[in-house]
């Protein structure tokens, strides 16, 4: 140690960069409570596919919007329970594997249902290490009747009865992001969803990025950091890992695929054939992309750069 300057360079700890295969093998176990968050934006399909490939079973999956990723995990038989607030194909219609499970018990699926605010509040409580979160909601609705975990809390000042939801503390949360450094300091722009709360609520966090950057990139704009490396266990570098979801500034949402999912998933056979071809028969994300020639040209984002700001003093 030379002590040449009062400022050490913020010496990096050991890199947390691992392959998707290793990250899932290490942090997702049968029976775990697993969160893959991202509201329309930055949904990590690459992680979902790896969970399917590693044949995890009895997972409790929690997501505001199950989206196609959960339809695929359900069809692959990975889950025993789903905790959610809106289970549809956004802009298209139904999630058919989800509907088959709930309407016909094929396969059997336990559900625990909130509104979006309820799910956000559950993650917020988990992240803040509170046992519950208060909200003004659910009066005059049937949600508390169909979900007994929705409770009431009494305001100590007004005596008012407010709704309460219990903390949600997953075993692992998987967050897709535009960029992170090797320690997991993670920057996201565009829609932020509930990723920060889910990550802080979680025992383990896997960050999957479009781009691995030097710590100096993160430090140049610290207000852009959503998740600090100190709560991250693994960093996976997986460009295009969110497809058919999107990554602002990297690639557009593949709306055509969301529309196509209606026909793929309506029939269980064709859904299984999809999983066989695009998930089970490929090794990894590179293999998946190889099956989609032209995809990256079709969806690559145009440049719409913003200006930087001055952090000087």
């Amino acid at each position: 140690m030379t002590g040449a300057a009062p400022v050490a360079s913020g010496m990096p700890k050991a890199s947390k960069v691992v392959s998707m295969r290793d990250a899932i093998a290490r942090f997702v176990h049968d029976g775990d409570t697993v969160v893959i968050e991202g509201f329309t934006h930055l949904i990590c399909f690459a992680a979902g596919h790896e969970i399917i490939r590693q044949k995890r079973r009895d997972l409790v999956l929690c997501r505001l919007t199950p989206d196609l990723i959960i339809d695929q995990l359900l069809a692959a038989g990975c889950a025993r329970k789903l905790v959610f607030s809106w289970a549809g194909n956004p802009g298209v219609g139904s999630l058919h594997a989800f509907r088959r499970a709930v309407e016909a018990g094929n396969p059997p699926l336990e559900i625990e249902e909130y509104s979006h605010f309820g799910m956000v509040a559950r993650f917020s409580a988990g992240a803040a290490h509170l046992p519950f979160w208060p909200l003004r909601d659910y009066k005059g609705t049937d949600l508390p009747d169909s979900n007994p975990r929705i409770a009431q809390v009494t305001c100590p000042y007004t005596g008012e009865q407010l709704a309460a939801v219990p903390a949600l503390n997953p075993d692992v949360t998987i967050v897709h992001a535009q960029r992170a450094d090797a320690e997991g300091n993670t920057q996201i722009w565009g829609l932020l969803g509930v990723q920060k709360e889910a990550a802080f609520a979680s025992k383990h966090v896997i960050v999957v990025v479009e781009e691995l950057v030097d710590t100096s990139v993160v430090r140049a704009d610290p207000n852009r950091t959503l998740i600090p490396g100190m709560i991250v266990d693994a960093v996976v570098v997986e460009p295009w890992g969110a497809h058919p979801s999107y990554a602002q500034g990297h690639y557009d949402r593949d709306n055509d695929f969301y529309v196509a999912w209606e026909n793929i998933s309506r029939d269980e056979g064709s859904l299984q054939a999809y999983l066989e071809t695009y998930v089970m028969s490929v090794e990894d994300r590179a293999g998946y992309l190889a099956l989609h020639p032209g995809l990256t040209d079709r969806l690559a984002a145009r440049a719409r750069m913003c200006e930087g700001v001055n952090y000087g003093y």
Partner: protein, 247 residues
């Protein structure tokens, strides 16, 4: 229906936008009489100016060029629960005479005939927006006397009025349909036929509602869409008929 919904919006209002026809109606209002409308989406985009018709409420075009993008905790706590939303649009598979909405299940919750997506943010929009407007095509199936499941609270539900429940917002003030407009009664919040589209009879509406629909003494006539409104919708806003199919 989309045109009538767009006219519900006043210039400069802060509107919570759902996907589908509400989204189209808001963008039509912004292109006509309400250029200063502030569009807020539950995904986190505030003051969005989408350069294309967004396919979902999380579309990247809602982010680029918006006034603010924030997390969903802020959207629900600060904007909605905070009472900052002036009008919210809602739709649903079933709407009852008090404007209660079901987007959860057809049939029994534990053994549904049809499992619908669920609440999303609808329960809290219905609770907190200063007023809500419901958009739905008329049919006796969609307008039962009582919904199978109350996902989003209307003007009266489970035996109590909004005031008795202590709900912050005014609730659904109108239901805009493809044949006429229902308005909530000031007295008890029940939806009443208040306006008809050109060429539509009272019977055309009452026969498509699953309860004995009250009809106001004097019915307003809804002005037909202007050529400009139709042109904007068909040629500019939704040329691919993403939302307009069948309408």
């Amino acid at each position: 229906m989309t045109v009538v919904a767009s006219r519900e919006l006043r210039d400069g209002e802060i509107v919570f936008v759902g996907i589908g026809l509400p989204n189209l109606a808001c963008n039509l209002a912004r292109a006509t009489h309400a250029p200063a409308l502030v569009l807020i989406y539950e995904s986190g985009a505030v003051g969005a100016l989408p350069e294309r018709l967004p396919v979902s409420i999380g579309d990247p075009s809602l982010v680029t060029g918006s006034l603010m993008v924030t997390g969903m905790a802020d959207i629900f706590q600060l904007f909605l629960q905070g009472g900052r939303i002036e009008v919210g649009f809602l739709g649903g598979a079933q709407i009852d005479k008090y404007g209660n909405i079901n987007t959860t299940v057809v049939g029994d919750y534990a053994k549904p005939k049809v499992r619908l997506p669920g609440s999303g943010g609808a329960a809290e929009i219905a609770t907190h927006a200063q007023r809500t407007v419901i958009i739905s095509r008329l049919s006796t199936r969609a307008f039962p006397e009582a919904v199978d499941y109350i996902t989003s609270p209307g003007n009266r539900g489970k035996g109590k009025s909004r005031r008795e429940w202590g709900m912050p917002g005014a609730g659904p003030v109108k239901v805009i349909t493809d044949r006429g407009v229902l308005c909530a009664s000031d007295v008890d919040g029940e939806m009443e036929l208040a306006a008809l589209y050109p060429g539509v009879t009272t019977e055309d509406v009452t026969s498509r509602v699953g309860w004995k629909l009250r009809v106001r003494d004097s019915l307003e006539a809804v002005a037909p869409p202007s050529a400009e409104e139709l042109r904007l919708l068909r040629e500019v806003l939704d040329p691919g008929k993403l939302y307009l199919k069948g309408s």
